[in-house]
């Protein structure tokens, strides 16, 4: 599920490239956590 609020916040603080990379890694970690619980 896409979290546009988080993505927009990260892009606003880090710029487009770093913000997108941060978002992708965060969502990957969240996805793995959901699978493990």
């Amino acid at each position: 599920m896409e979290d546009t609020v988080l993505l927009n916040a990260l892009v606003a603080k880090l710029g487009a490239e770093a913000g997108q990379k941060a978002y992708d890694k965060i969502m990957a970690i969240k996805g793995n956590r959901a699978k493990n619980i």
Binding site: A9, A22, K25, I26, R33
Partner: protein
């Protein structure tokens, strides 16, 4: 003769040894505030600043690019986990994670194991961040 030469050799070895650099700080975060870092040690010549993104999501920004090249310097970032068990209310816990995402950017995630939440860093246990830079 040997006694005279030994100290000189020893000094040369010291000067040639690569230096491991380290940054250590205690972290505290509450509400929607930016994490507060109390620096305990830093010989990295890098300044680290913090920012708040959303509940349980924080930025650590380095003043130099630490993660630019996988073949360059080796950097390890760790943070004390905050796991605890609440036996009264039932099994519960917390998780604290740090990971690099860009040249000079790391992300800290704090969660109650179901979602990212604030107020974990430094609240139930000491949370220290440690960044080690190997040459």
């Amino acid at each position: 003769m040997n006694e005279f030469n030994l100290p000189k050799k020893f000094n040369w070895e010291l000067a040639s040894q690569p230096i491991v650099k380290k940054y250590v700080a205690d972290l505290y975060q509450t509400g929607t505030d930016i994490p507060v870092a109390t620096e305990l040690f830093n010989n990295t010549e890098v300044a680290f600043t913090y920012d708040y993104v959303s509940p349980g999501v924080y930025i650590v920004l380095a003043s130099k690019n630490l993660f630019t090249s996988p073949t360059g310097q080796k950097v390890q970032a760790t943070i004390t986990n905050a796991t605890y068990i609440d036996d009264v209310a039932g099994p519960s816990g917390q998780s604290v994670t740090i990971f690099p995402v860009f040249d000079n950017v790391m992300i800290i995630l704090t969660s109650d194991l179901t979602a990212e939440v604030d107020g974990i860093l430094g609240n139930n246990t000491q949370n220290a961040i440690e960044i080690t830079i190997y040459p």
